[in-house]
């Protein structure tokens, strides 16, 4: 079977631009969740999020006529492609899979707000050209000259992980030798208001796996990786950050927003990922959890992890405690955190975790990163619609 390696990484995160900045932030356990500046928040219970800092976005060498989401997506994808040292020829055969949910809705909302409030036609209507999630893939594919299969994947908060799994499949099936895969989401009013309406947001920075957790915090990011046939990567002398071993993708078919009560879909996804990776559960040395900080998600995920890996057997942490829930980007961002944890032999912590929930029978690495030489790790992503994706990576 074709072995697949991660040969390039790119991130725009609430810490700023670049993979190095991202890794330094999560390795230090720095929580980037702060008061929201991008949109009005008056009247809402939760008024915080992990935004990409304004100077970082302003400093991107990209046209401001593009949507915020298109800009951060392009910056992150560009970094990944440069990091992998891909030539124009490499890019011309590369697949592109972009996970997205909100698209350019932030600018689309501004148009709608203006027309609704003034009752007059607004010139902002041009923003609607970039409102759909597919806009990111079109922008990235065009600007980077990516000529392989192109897809925009929408699987809610599991989208970013799914883009990795589906991109890897194209390499395994021999359709392409390499794929640029990733996800992007920026803050939108609909997302912020929707999670507030569902009462799923904590008024304070989220506390995954904490006994007193009260919900999640929204974040924004773009994260991309280059997946490549290992033999090809080695032959061209490309970097190898880690090896992608396999994935499991399942659906709960239970409820539109709530996870299955005993984690049936999560358990199947993790087991399928282990099967696809060809590794036993006992080999997993670290889990980057979905870990949103909502009472229900963390409880069910812990239950599912206990079922698959055994209670207390492995360190589990949630990087969402530091960068918030970056929606469609989360699956890729956390896969990158997982690969970097393997590379640096350092497990990123769960920030804001002070009192571990007794229903979570795992060491959730509270507050401070922990040195640990781990060979194989699991990254979980779950989402609305009962979408479950688990990924397995090996140290490069």
């Amino acid at each position: 079977m074709t072995r697949i390696v991660v040969s390039g990484l790119g991130v725009v995160s609430p810490y700023g631009v670049g993979v190095k900045t991202f890794w330094e932030g999560i390795a230090a356990g720095t929580c980037a969740i702060r008061p929201i500046t991008l949109i009005e928040t008056e009247g809402f219970r939760s008024r915080i999020a992990a935004e990409v800092p304004a100077p970082a976005v302003a400093g991107l060498d990209l046209s401001r006529r593009r949507s915020r989401a298109d800009r951060v997506a392009l910056a992150a994808a560009r970094e990944a492609v440069a990091d992998a040292h891909l030539t124009a020829q490499d890019r011309s055969v590369a697949a592109l899979l972009v996970a997205a949910v909100g698209g350019g809705m932030l600018e689309g909302e501004a148009w709608y707000w203006e027309e609704a409030r003034t009752g007059r036609r607004s010139p902002r209507i041009k923003a609607l050209r970039s409102i759909l999630p597919a806009s990111h893939a079109e922008t990235v594919g065009h600007c980077l000259g990516l000529g392989g299969p192109k897809e925009t994947i929408i699987m809610a908060c599991a989208s970013g992980a799914a883009s990795i799994a589906l991109g890897a499949d194209l390499i395994r099936e021999g359709v392409v030798p390499l794929a640029v895969v990733g996800g992007v989401d920026v803050l939108t009013r609909i997302c912020f208001m929707g999670f507030n309406a569902l009462k799923l947001l904590d008024a304070e920075p989220c506390r995954p796996f904490d006994r007193d957790r009260r919900g999640m915090s929204i974040g924004e990011a773009a994260a991309f990786m280059v997946l490549e046939d290992a033999q090809r990567c080695r032959a061209r002398g490309g970097p190898m950050y880690g090896e992608y071993l396999g994935a499991g993708m399942t659906t709960d078919a239970h409820h539109i927003t709530a996870p299955h009560p005993v984690g049936d879909g999560m358990i199947r996804a993790m087991n399928l990922a282990l099967d696809a990776a060809g590794v036993p559960a006992s080999e997993i040395g670290y889990v980057n959890a979905h870990g949103t900080g909502t009472p229900q998600n963390d409880r069910v995920e812990a239950l599912a992890l206990s079922c698959v890996l055994g209670e207390g057997s492995v360190p589990v942490s949630s990087t969402k405690s530091m960068v918030g829930h970056t929606m469609a980007a989360a699956g890729t961002l956390e896969a990158i955190a997982t690969v970097l944890a393997l590379q640096h032999s350092l497990i990123p912590p769960t920030a804001n975790l002070r009192n571990l929930d007794p229903e979570v029978p795992f060491d959730c690495v509270p507050e401070v990163a922990r040195p640990a030489s781990v060979e194989v790790a699991l990254s979980n992503s779950f989402g609305f619609g009962g979408q479950n994706v688990s990924l397995v990576f090996r140290k490069g």
Binding site: P149, I154, D169, G194, T250, R268
Partner: protein, 371 residues
């Protein structure tokens, strides 16, 4: 197969009958007023025909587009006699998703502030809501994937589903596409000059590949096919309409939302696949032409370049378009694949489904009778 569209509602027999009839469902839009709008035509679904397919207890709270999806998926499941479980997955392609719910959600906030926000509507604003609703309705517990793509969303969903079956993610997939008409979507596209009559010129109408084509006409509906691993389908005695012999997709790097007929894909899997085809390999071709001059011309140029001999035959140059019958929507690509499967089943030889979208996504499917 199952479909809920402006022409018909039903399984394979209904699709075949509608295609044979060939009657256009495009007419002036009735669902919302279009005063002052430069476009007025659409292909609307009559919801009374859909209601009978919905479960009054479980489906009444679904958004309209989710209802369309669930109804069409149920028809497809009934048509193919498949059952739910961990072996069954779903791929949904959509161009626009549930913009009606997004607008409803935001409008309520603008009227009443935070107190107006509905936690029941919010999940519909995420584009995978249709796949989630269908997965719950059919107990589909393998992978469910939603793909956002202009013009060829349904074809891409069918192709991706075939790849998922081949990759072992599910032994059975329900795959297709869905979109619905809404006032905000229709008016916005018309204002942006994306609907016939584009740039305000000529008579409004859907005329793919014609010299006077001047833009697409929107339609709505959901259409889905059931794809299975061939051996498993034979083993359970399924009615096999046709086999997806090959499905490939690629990208011609092009500026977003642009159609650039001079752009070609030098290395794409689609080009490699088509270059290996000879006229003897297939009988006809369904294309994605929908009356958008840029896209129509691009498709003709690509087919001429990649299939120089075959492209001179009727039914290939220009390709057959279903857009004048059903209107442009996410389910149209699945109807193209369905039409190809029914043609193949009628002994018309292998049939090519080809598509190109603004922004450069390109697809090709070869559908034939299993050997």
């Amino acid at each position: 197969m199952g479909t809920v569209n402006a022409s018909t509602v039903g399984g394979a027999d209904a699709v075949a009958a509608a295609l044979a009839l060939g009657r256009t469902a495009i007419a002036p839009v009735r669902a919302f007023p279009l005063n002052g709008c430069r476009s007025h035509l659409g292909a609307e679904v009559e919801m009374s025909a859909v209601s009978a397919l919905l479960n009054r207890d479980t489906d009444r709270r679904l958004s309209r587009i989710c209802q369309l999806t669930v109804a069409a998926c149920r028809l497809a499941a009934l048509d193919s006699k498949i059952t739910g479980g961990p072996h069954l997955g779903i791929v949904v392609g959509s161009e626009f998703g549930d913009l009606r719910s997004s607008e409803e959600f935001v409008a309520a906030f603008l009227r009443r502030g935070p107190a107006g926000l509905s936690p029941l509507i919010f999940p519909n604003t995420v584009m995978n809501a249709m796949a989630a609703a269908a997965a719950i309705a059919l107990d589909a517990r393998a992978a469910s994937v939603t793909i956002n793509q202009a013009t060829i969303a349904g074809d891409l969903a069918v192709t991706r589903a075939a790849a998922l079956v081949a990759g072992g993610y599910a032994s059975t997939m329900i795959a297709g596409g869905v979109d619905e008409l809404s006032a905000v979507l229709y008016r916005s596209l018309a204002d942006l000059g994306a609907l016939s009559p584009m740039q305000g010129g000529g008579t409004e109408g859907c005329r793919p590949y014609a010299p006077d084509h001047n833009g697409p006409v929107l339609g709505e509906g959901a259409s889905f096919l059931v794809l299975e691993e061939l051996g498993a389908a034979k083993a359970r005695g399924a009615t096999i309409h046709a086999e997806v012999k090959c499905g490939v997709w690629g990208n011609i790097p092009t500026a977003p939302h642009k159609a650039q007929p001079f752009r070609v894909d030098l290395h794409s899997p689609v080009r490699r696949f088509l270059e290996d085809l000879t006229p003897a390999h297939f009988g006809r071709c369904y294309g994605s032409g929908n009356g958008d001059p840029g896209v129509d011309d691009w498709e003709i140029a690509l087919l001429h370049r990649d299939l120089p001999e075959a492209s001179r035959r009727p039914g290939i140059r220009p390709p057959l378009s279903l857009a004048p019958q059903f209107g442009q929507h996410g389910g149209l690509g699945a109807l193209r694949a369905a039409a190809a499967a029914l043609d193949a089943a009628r002994g018309m030889g292998p049939v090519l489904v080809h598509g190109i979208a603004r922004g450069g996504c390109r697809i090709a499917l070869l559908i034939e009778l299993p050997r």
